[in-house]
Subunit: 205 residues, 2 copies
């Protein structure tokens, strides 16, 4: 799932576009940052941005330096029904992070946590790139989708930070097979178990 | 639970001791870093370190710049039996982090995640200052205590990062009363529910 392949274009122009994209996504968020405005800030034609980076989603991932394609990761998890989805999500996530791509991903999380611009980009990425897709795939009620997917994020982000960044033992060295059922059950519960009324009131995103 | 009060001694000497303590705790871990060796590195008498900072635990908290006393926080949670302890732990944690002390605590977590020295100190602190005490209070089996408390750490650390650092909505603004039962149930499960055999094999810390 690591992203490789051709990187078209002049390196300086690519860098200028990526810098403009980071600023735009952090300032205005993904939805309101247009390819047109990013191209203008970088002093290039919008068509060139599309030619270099493809879609706005792809530009965003490149700007975030995300070392794997979350789309293909999610496809491996979703679309097989709700049952066992929590465990599949954790298992797939651990497979990506235990791979060489995980080292770059850990660096990304470190940046996002210590730098407010990256934090805003990560928030955008998690909300848009992952959580909304999970909410849609699970058919979560609109009043509950925000809180449910945020709860999932607490467990997944915590697993990443404790296993790959703080590296608490024995969890940091535990095989994925031992962790996926235990933590997957939490994710499954956050996605599917009835929420208390007090929680539903805050669940709307 | 914020720590205030007198801070005895010459500021330069205090700073030298704290710098030596940070280096010692990060390099050798809490157990192997002695007050004697920290005093020697700072060029002062061990008695002065005790006079300035009290116990090694207190020196460690000061060196970590922990803005509250985890001992009194844990006392509020533990010692009331196992039932409901997960929810009490989450509720107490949210009360501390939602208070003014939480701002300083968030800065500490940012540092720990972006800086390897602080990461090692945080690992020491979490393991020794919190997890071992939880394990003892709950009478966790030695073969399971490590993994169980690490699992609790994934949920608590993830809650902190998502609510106070990445600030995903709606969870970042949700009242503690709505979150404590939901997330507390996860903590309770990690502390008390039977673990699968594959997990017990890695549980020993």
């Amino acid at each position: 799932m690591a992203r490789t392949g051709r990187r078209p274009g002049n390196p300086d122009t690519r860098d200028a576009v990526l810098a403009a994209a980071r600023e735009a996504f952090a300032d205005r968020g993904f939805d309101r940052a247009s390819i047109r405005s990013i191209a203008a800030a970088a002093g290039v034609d919008p068509a060139l941005v599309h030619h270099y980076f493809g879609t706005k989603d792809q530009l965003f991932l490149e700007a975030m330096q995300v070392p794997f394609d979350p789309g293909s990761v999610l496809s491996a998890v979703l679309g097989q029904g709700r049952e066992g989805a929590g465990e599949r999500l954790v298992r797939t996530m651990l497979a990506v992070w235990d791979s060489p791509a995980g080292v770059a991903a850990a660096a990304l999380v470190r940046s996002a946590i210590s730098n407010e611009t990256f934090a805003r980009m990560l928030r955008e990425f998690v909300t848009r790139g992952i959580l909304r897709r999970v909410a849609k795939e699970f058919g979560l009620a609109p009043t509950e989708a925000g809180l449910r997917t945020n709860l999932v994020a607490t467990q997944i982000v915590g697993l990443i930070v404790v296993r790959y960044i703080i590296r608490l033992e024995p969890l940091a060295s535990a095989p994925a097979d031992a962790l996926a059922p235990l933590i997957g059950q939490t994710v499954q519960r956050y996605l599917t178990e009835p929420l208390p009324a007090a929680a539903v009131r805050v669940g709307k995103n």
